[in-house]
């Protein structure tokens, strides 16, 4: 079996938002919509303060509550773990948004126009994505890139053309993507060699997003 997961090393991440911007580029999301973003956490009390940068997005959960609640089957879980949305089937009921504890989904009805609805830049003309208006949207693990890669003998997470844009772009090499079921994969090795956690582990929905926080001694 294959299961694609995302691994974020928060010991490396510097919160630069390069992944945020790269995702917006590649997926041409509307202003304000960020399928991938990096949060700025601060803990402790002066002067004992820690600050961490946490990349977030869809966790492509094993027991995805969004897929369960979706009334139209627009949200589907693929065998390889990627949770997809069929924009043409979705009715935009936003139930999946309420079901997601990672705040990964959005429903917006604004044009892909960065400078306001009346101005369309040349590159925006090509990516209107009308199919996404008023329906659910979220990180897709760049499933188009993954599928392109698989169809052409490339390895998702290793070959850039088969890898999510955020992983490609990360300048700290903090993001990794790969098949957790393959014990020789990059992600499997990272999980062996680092301490890690998954967010909201207590909700027990099988998140596919792992956070490394220190190399194992």
């Amino acid at each position: 079996m294959t299961r694609y997961v995302m691994v974020a090393d928060i010991n490396r991440c510097v919160g630069c938002q390069t992944c945020t911007a790269a995702c917006k580029h590649t997926n041409a999301t509307a202003p304000g919509v960020q399928w991938r973003k990096v949060l700025d956490f601060e803990t402790g009390r002066f002067p004992n303060v820690h600050r961490a940068f946490i990349p977030v997005g869809c966790n492509h959960c094993l027991d995805a509550p969004c897929a369960d609640v979706c009334p139209t089957t627009a949200t589907q879980k693929r065998p390889d773990g990627i949770v997809t949305i069929n924009y043409d089937t979705c009715i935009g009921c936003a139930y999946c948004i309420e079901a997601c504890p990672y705040q990964a989904r959005e429903r917006v009805d604004i044009p892909n126009r960065a400078y306001g609805t009346r101005v369309q830049m040349k590159h925006e003309q090509r990516v209107e994505h009308l199919e996404r208006r008023a329906v659910a949207q979220k990180c897709t693990f760049c499933v188009d890139r993954v599928d392109f890669g698989l169809a052409n003998g490339l390895i998702p997470g290793i070959d850039p053309e088969a890898t999510p844009a955020c992983v490609n772009a990360c300048i700290a090499d903090a993001l990794s993507f790969g098949d957790i079921e393959d014990e020789n994969s990059n992600v499997a090795e990272l999980l062996r060699s680092h301490e890690y956690f998954r967010m909201h582990e207590e909700l027990d929905i099988g998140s596919g997003f792992y956070y490394l926080w220190t190399p194992r001694k």
């Binding site: 510097v14 630069c16 945020t20 400078y115």
Partner: protein, 913 residues
């Protein structure tokens, strides 16, 4: 996914570079579909030559929007409202390129005919460029034109000299060819970082190197008043009181020198520094009367001998009775017979003695245990005595480094910090060796491509340095540019960068009121502005705006409307980043942490049809040169290497016919061919086609060139540490020159020219300067206001890029005035409250962002905003400290720099939305 109905889009990938900030340049690809730029991507093909796998940072992802930004100025414009001011609408109207260029050319011709210099002796033409020199890599052949229309005053700064690493630039190059200093991160285990915000300002190279280092277990201690991105990613945060870093560092020196002396790298001190040099009674070196060489004491023979005597065992400490001569300033000379002298090192010990960790703890508001622990950790991690092999040569391995950030390495205290940092490195033998504290490049010495080649011996056994003369005969008594850099600051040398390193605020200040006994201040008759916005990015921005409005003729190469080109007479739209053609050098070692194993050239090329009627900068320049009647001198400057490489040398000749007007392609074809020829020792001459297709060409850059100490060893030279004898002499001479002309207003600055830097109450300097100049009580302004770098915005004119604004909001400290949570609550302030931020000079407004990661006595405003003309940015309502900071000579150090520091009061705005 787009669904093209008729045919698949014609897709291609175009190679280019990003050099929007000094942390670059970095390579990238632009995906283009049907002549539309659609995506920025890393250039993965370059992964094996680029130290960062061909990646670019977040800023580069704004380049598509930058190209298609609807607010771009896309045709030349001319001002029709003759009155200039913030509240005056310029009423720009579009004009043809012919009209624009001819208007400018007429002006240039008239200025050239008059000699180019006004009655005060200042150049009639001024030019301001921003981005720490990065604008050079976007302005095509304009540098060649600037040579043709020289003289030019480059000193109307937009932050150069006062907001940059100023003191580090000058002292760094002086002491170890380090225009900017970096750790040898890949080999380092322990870094002391005084406010250096590498995770925000270090670009791709900085971020990746330090992320890798974290995986290796590096310990970095971030010493800084607030918890920046770098503090966040450091092993320890030490929240130091602002501007007290000199005290901290002197205390570290104290521990090492007075508690750990026997554990220091004594061989390095003896053979690679001026520590053993004997100091004569008047403070200058004791010299051999015959050869004038500084003397050292040889314990083997029990005699004072010239420093370069071989086979000696030099004393670092001790008092000796010797004879010799002493050469002071100007003609001062003393002959000494049997006097008791000691070494520079002993003087250092004495000098540092009072500055204990306990003393520093009170100044810095940091527990003295922490200070001492850090000193010991630094020493322990230095692994003195260990070696490594680089390119077949055995070198010391000293995996510890000290880096400084802005507001630490500039302004008062900058000298102290740079000196202390360099000395810390010397004490453990970690200067310019693997793992240690390294310089990155040179800009005042030459060549920039390899700083090792800039090392030449001085008579005293140190590195020679092109100090501006201060002797009576050669001192530039009458300043030739408005910031008087070579007159006032001997250390700025005389390279194309020197003007930007003078006190650039002087150029602005004296427009209102010049200092005594000084040439009458004059505005420039023609002012070129490109990639810079002094109306936002300098100090006392209200004053800068008013001053700009008095300039009679301003030509701005304009991207969008902004606060500076609001005062322009002509706007010229150049092809922006993804539209122009230019070949540049990259690789080798360069600021900030650009350490490559290759060196070469990369091309920036039009990825798609340029927007509107914007034109390539090279085309604009050639047109200007032609219309100004300067085509020949322009072409000559090109041939002589004005764009970074000579078009003719011993091994190749791609020089241009100076009598002809050459197209953009023809010029860059010649540059490309010259570049290839240089790299292949004349064997290959690939032109534009090659670079368009491949993006770059590199040759190896030996790893050993990262380090200067091998060169110093080969030449038998020493680092001029700790004792600044030459600077003492130079300072004394400068003082005499200034005083002889009745100039007393540089006296405070002259005080800095001491052989061993004095400790001062640096925060007190700010407090007293503000009280004195504004007749206020400093207690009414209880907060220190500092600023911090935004990776997303700085630089590149990104303020109007929507995607940049959107993603930057994820960073909490980008929101407004960052204030300590508990302190805010004490004042009755909550997160999100609107407040007035008032300094003795002016006031601005912002929103409170409460954080734990900042000292209670400090507040922080990130980046530089307060826009009022730039589209999109003017709606941010994000404040900046720049309008709050006065331009004061009192707050200028001897190197001509200041620091971004203010004192403010915060009060809640009532009844405001």
């Amino acid at each position: 996914m787009t669904h093209e109905a008729h045919r698949p889009p014609e897709k291609k990938k175009v190679h280019t570079y990003c050099y929007q900030c000094v942390a670059g340049p970095d390579l990238l690809d632009v995906q283009v579909e049907d002549d539309t730029a659609t995506q920025i991507q890393p250039n993965f093909e370059a992964a094996d030559v680029s130290p960062v796998g061909g990646k670019v940072c977040v800023k580069a992802y704004g380049l598509i929007q930058k190209m298609y930004n609807p607010h771009r100025i896309l045709s030349p414009m001319k001002r029709t409202n003759p009155t200039k001011g913030r509240d005056e609408n310029p009423d720009f109207i579009p004009i043809s390129w012919d009209e624009a260029l001819d208007t400018i050319a007429e002006k240039i011709k008239e200025i050239k005919a008059s000699g180019g210099v006004d009655d005060s002796g200042y150049p009639r033409i001024a030019a301001s460029f921003g981005g720490g020199g990065t604008s050079t890599y976007y302005m095509g052949t304009f540098p060649a034109f600037l040579k043709a229309i020289a003289p030019i005053d480059f000193g109307f700064g937009s932050g150069q000299g006062v907001k940059c690493y100023h003191s580090e630039h000058l002292y760094g190059e002086y002491w170890h060819r380090a225009f900017i200093v970096a750790p040898d991160t890949p080999n380092c285990d322990y870094i002391l970082s005084f406010g250096m915000n590498i995770e925000a300002s270090g670009g791709v190279c900085g971020v990746k190197r330090h992320a890798d280092a974290r995986d290796r277990g590096i310990k970095r201690v971030q010493i800084e008043p607030h918890l920046s991105q770098t503090g966040a990613t450091s092993a320890e945060w030490v929240p130091i009181r602002p501007k007290t870093d000199p005290a901290f560092m002197f205390a570290l020196l104290n521990v090492l020198l007075h508690e750990q002396r026997e554990n220091l790298d004594l061989p390095f001190l003896k053979s690679r520094t001026g520590s053993p040099y004997l100091v004569a009674p008047n403070g200058f070196f004791l010299r051999d009367p015959k050869t004038d060489k500084p003397l050292v004491y040889d314990l083997k023979t029990g005699q004072a001998v010239p420093f370069d005597t071989v086979d000696t065992d030099l004393a670092l400490e001790g008092h000796f009775v010797v004879s010799g001569s002493e050469r002071g300033a100007d003609q001062d000379r003393w002959e000494h017979q049997d006097i008791k002298v000691t070494t520079a090192f002993e003087h250092l010990l004495e000098h540092i003695k009072p500055y204990t960790p306990l003393w520093a703890s009170r100044v810095c508001d940091i527990d003295n245990k922490i200070i001492r622990r850090i000193a010991l950790e630094f020493l322990q991690h230095a692994r003195i005595g260990e070696t490594t092999v680089i390119d077949g040569r055995t070198l010391p391995l000293r995996p510890v480094a000290v880096v400084l950030g802005k507001t630490v390495n500039n302004g008062w205290g900058g000298y102290q910090c740079c000196w202390a940092r360099t000395l810390l490195a010397c004490l453990v033998g970690g200067l310019e060796v693997p793992g240690g504290t390294l310089g990155t490049t040179v800009r005042l010495n030459r060549p920039a491509s390899d700083r090792n080649l800039s090392v030449h011996p001085s008579a005293d056994g140190f590195m020679d340095y092109p100090l501006n003369p201060t002797d009576e005969e050669h001192w530039l008594a009458r300043p030739d540019v408005r910031n008087a850099n070579r007159t006032l600051v001997p250390l700025v040398a005389n390279s194309p960068w020197s003007q930007a390193l003078g006190p650039t605020h002087l150029a602005w200040m004296q427009q209102v009121k010049g200092p005594d006994n000084w040439p009458q201040a004059t505005p420039p008759d023609l002012w070129f502005v490109y990639r810079t916005n002094p109306a936002i990015s300098f100090w006392d921005t209200n004053h800068v705006v008013k001053t700009m409005a008095t300039f009679p003729f301003t030509v701005c190469f304009a991207y969008t409307a902004d606060e500076t080109n609001h005062m322009a007479d002509i706007l010229l739209p150049d092809c922006t980043d993804l539209e122009g053609l230019q070949l540049i050098r990259l690789g080798g070692t360069k600021f900030i942490e650009q350490f490559w194993d290759v060196q070469g050239f990369a091309l920036r090329q039009p990825v798609a049809e340029p927007q509107g009627d914007s034109r390539d900068f090279t085309w604009i320049t050639t047109e200007l040169a032609k219309r100004s009647g300067l085509l020949e001198s322009y072409n000559e400057a090109l041939n002589h290497g004005a764009v970074g490489i000579s078009l003719k040398s011993d091994i190749y000749d791609h020089s241009l016919d100076i009598t002809k007007e050459h197209t953009v392609e023809a010029i860059w074809e010649a540059v490309c061919q010259s570049a290839s020829a240089e790299m292949s020792a004349g064997k290959e001459h690939q032109g534009l086609d090659y670079y368009r297709k491949n993006g770059y060409r590199f040759i190896p850059f030996e790893r050993i060139k990262w380090y200067l100490t091998p060169t110093m060893e080969d030449l038998g030279l020493r680092y001029e540490m700790p004792y600044q004898e030459q600077l003492t002499r130079v300072g004394t001479q400068l003082g005499r020159r200034l005083h002889s002309r009745g100039i007393s207003w540089w006296d405070e600055q002259l005080e800095e020219y001491h052989a061993l830097p004095d400790m001062m109450d640096f925060p007190g300097i700010w407090e007293q300067a503000l009280e004195r100049n504004f007749k206020i009580n400093i207690d009414d302004y209880p907060f220190w206001l500092i600023t911090s770098r935004s990776m997303q915005y700085a630089w590149g004119g990104n303020a109007s890029i929507q995607i940049i604004h959107e993603v930057s909001k994820n960073i909490r400290t980008h929101g407004g005035l960052v204030m300590n949570t508990d302190r805010a609550h004490e004042l009755g302030l909550e997160d999100g409250d609107r407040v007035e931020i008032r300094s003795p000079l002016s006031a601005t407004r912002g929103i409170v962002v409460t954080r734990q990661g900042i000292r209670p006595d400090t507040v922080m405003l990130m980046g530089q905003f307060d826009h009022w003309a730039t589209p999109f940015a003017r709606d941010f309502a994000m404040p900046s400290m720049n309008s709050l900071v006065p331009m004061l000579l009192d707050l200028t150090d001897s190197s001509g720099s200041g620091a971004d520091l203010a004192r403010v009061s915060i009060s809640k705005l009532r009844g405001e939305a």
